[in-house]
């Protein structure tokens, strides 16, 4: 603001659960008092299609654009335009573990394949180190659906083939969901709280020392290591995402970049862009990285010593990003994009049915694929 003394910024925060409803309602009513809004990836294209946000490629200098991570560029480009600048690089899920528990169980290094994950969980359990060594979101909510998709990707699977046919119920899809089911019933290693606690609650298990391994969004590692709230501060580490047996430690993850965009109601887009570049440019990304451990979307910022020191695991995740893919398909005409709310809602119930034994993994995923086909007819 020292560099732009004539620009005043008013900032409004909205609770996450109501943010989308509020925003969409305002846009539909044509009364939006905001110049810059935050857009997760799946909304970005919807808002762009509705003309609610403006393209910003004419403002972004090439030195800033070229510095962006490849996944971020994929996120922000749509229909030949660029729609904003990134808040951070969402690296997706990370595999975290309690270093001391693993050492106590006599395990030399963290798992590299999903079979090794099960083996090490059973070792930790059998040696009495931890009763429920594994944790991931298993409640009926969208985080559980995201967990399944991350696992499917990490096992080498795909969501759609080149013709746009849904592959959730492929052999690998069923294997991924069955892996989650087996953690509960076959191996009895999943912490029971995971079945009833929403996404933020599961990280508390790791921070409380109640579990040894966790599959969760990467930035939660900071919370698990926080000395003010964690019972095991400094003990939580990360490793490369386990992969299939032919590609150990190359599971990768699904990445994207939630973006800041300028609304069509902005009366002064030039001034708005100057703030956008602060918020979503290298300066803003470094600030979020150092203060909140949000991995920066800029390659130069990711190598900054302050950032490397601030984000424990940055080196691992930087390596993991090489095996990562963009979270969503770029084909906006797929139901995944146009009807994400309906599909996510349906899918999370089906996954929950599989995890609670109401349906088999195959039955649940077949139902999801049928739903995708049904939604495809609406597109």
């Amino acid at each position: 603001m020292e560099e732009n003394p004539t620009i005043k910024v008013n900032y409004t925060t909205v609770a996450g659960e109501v943010y989308r409803a509020k925003l969409v309602t305002m846009f539909a009513a044509g009364e939006v008092p905001y110049d810059i809004i935050w857009c997760p990836t799946s909304w970005l294209y919807e808002f762009a299609d509705n003309g609610w946000i403006i393209p910003v490629e004419k403002y972004i200098p090439s030195k800033i654009w070229d510095d962006l991570a490849p996944i971020t560029k994929q996120t922000l480009e749509y229909n030949g335009h660029r729609w904003g600048l990134p808040w951070y690089l969402a690296l997706g899920f990370a595999f975290m573990y309690n270093r001391e528990m693993v050492k106590k169980a006599g395990i030399a290094e963290p798992p590299k394949t999903w079979d090794e994950v099960i083996e090490q969980c059973l070792t930790v359990k059998d040696k009495g180190v931890c009763r429920y060594p594994m944790s991931f979101s298993a409640m009926q909510d969208m985080d559980t659906w995201a967990t399944f998709k991350a696992l499917l990707k990490a096992m080498g699977g795909k969501f759609y083939d080149d013709e746009g046919n849904c592959l959730y119920n492929s052999d690998l899809g069923v294997k991924a969901l069955q892996w989650m089911v087996d953690c509960i019933y076959k191996y009895d290693i999943l912490h029971p709280t995971c079945l009833e606690t929403e996404m933020h609650g599961a990280i508390e298990l790791l921070a409380a020392g109640e579990t040894c391994f966790q599959l969760k969004v990467y930035y939660y590692m900071k919370i698990a290591n926080d000395p003010t709230t964690s019972k095991v501060p400094g003990q939580i580490e990360t490793c490369l995402m386990p992969g299939p047996s032919d590609k150990p430690a190359q599971g990768g993850s699904l990445g994207s970049s939630p973006a800041w965009g300028i609304t069509k109601y902005c009366k002064n887009p030039d001034a708005a862009y100057r703030f956008l570049e602060f918020l979503g440019g290298p300066i803003g990304n470094k600030m979020w990285a150092v203060e909140r451990s949000l991995f920066p979307a800029y390659t130069s910022v990711a190598k900054d010593p302050d950032v490397v020191n601030a984000i424990k695991g940055a080196d691992v995740w930087g390596e993991q990003a090489k095996y990562g893919v963009f979270e969503l398909t770029k084909n906006y005409n797929l139901p995944e994009m146009k009807y994400s709310a309906e599909l996510t809602d349906f899918a999370m119930v089906e996954v929950s049915m599989a995890l609670t034994g109401v349906k088999t993994a195959k039955e649940a995923l077949d139902a999801v694929v049928e739903k995708v086909k049904e939604l495809k007819t609406k597109v």
Partner: protein, 308 residues
């Protein structure tokens, strides 16, 4: 003919009431009428109109009049009938348990015991706590790992390992029902207790003199006289139970495996998750029609004038 009928109506009105008083009374009522119209009648009519359009806030430019298509589409929807089954199961459970418990507590409070004023006050406490807070409280009580219930049951040796009350599709609805019973029983006591208090003591004394035991007293004297109260409880509690949303949202989020997805929760998903206001409005009207049918059935079969 119409003009002369209209004239005679107003003439009759003028003859019965002083016109000036009517005008003044209307002016005093006007603020309330504006409020009722603005906050109840207009929104109801507006949402009825909305239910005939395919309004999707994500694609507002595609809005069209579709008539009853929203209603038909909902009736063909996945989970619709399952959602009603869950809702009716929940309603039957919470209303019947609440009524039994509420009646029992009312009878106990009607007795002349030491500290009766104190008990009559604290019985209202659950009702005074916001349902969302009660929901959160019960979420912790039933928590698989940290919950008090599992702790107590394990200490008593009644269970060997932790029970996942909220993570088990066969148990989750029972937990929601118990929570709702806890919240709403004080309201039932509030309705039934005055009816119990209003039963003339002479009747009871006469019945006792005639040799009635407690059960016969309850069956032939108490129950018939509190029937109007029971009817009020049934109507109001059924309406409220059919529209329950808050404790489901807090306790289970409609899960696990859709086991607690009541119809009100579905309506919320449609309106605020999928942003489809047209079909959400249609959904809510379907719920309203069902509620009105229940109310009509209750009144038809249970309402009788009570004479002492």
């Amino acid at each position: 003919m119409l003009i002369s009928k209209k004239n005679s109506f107003f003439a009759k009105l003028k003859a019965e009431y002083k016109w000036e008083e009517v005008k003044i009374a209307f002016l005093f009522l006007l603020p309330s009428l504006v409020l009722i119209f603005g906050m109840i009648i207009y929104p109801v009519l507006y949402s009825l109109n909305l239910s005939l359009y395919n309004l999707d806030l994500r694609r507002p430019g595609n809005t069209q009049f579709v008539g009853l298509a929203n209603y038909i589409e909902i009736l063909q929807r996945d989970y619709f009938y399952n959602s009603w089954r869950i809702t009716l199961q929940f309603t039957a459970g919470t209303v019947s348990l609440g009524l039994l418990l509420g009646l029992g507590i009312s009878i106990l409070l009607n007795e002349d015991v030491v500290g009766k004023r104190f008990f009559r006050s604290i019985v209202l406490l659950p009702w005074a706590i916001p349902p969302v807070v009660s929901g959160l409280m019960f979420k912790w009580i039933f928590h698989a790992d940290f919950g008090a219930l599992n702790g107590i049951l394990k200490q008593l040796g009644l269970i060997q390992s932790r029970v996942s009350w909220l993570g088990n599709p066969n148990l989750a609805l029972s937990v929601v029902t118990i929570t709702d019973v806890w919240i709403t029983t004080p309201f039932i006591v509030l309705i039934l207790f005055p009816f119990l208090q209003s039963i003339p003591q002479d009747l009871i004394n006469a019945a006792k003199v005639d040799g009635c035991n407690s059960f016969q007293l309850f069956r032939h004297i108490t129950l018939p006289l509190i029937k109007p109260g029971i009817l009020v409880v049934l109507v109001l509690r059924t309406m409220s139970a059919l529209m329950t949303f808050d404790i489901v949202y807090v306790l289970t989020g409609g899960g696990p495996a859709g086991a607690t997805r009541v119809v009100a929760y579905f309506t919320w998903l449609e309106a605020f998750w999928a942003m489809k206001l047209g079909s959400a409005a249609a959904f809510s009207y379907i719920i309203s029609i069902v509620v009105m049918i229940f109310a009509a059935v209750y009144i038809k079969f249970l309402y009788k004038r009570v004479e002492y």
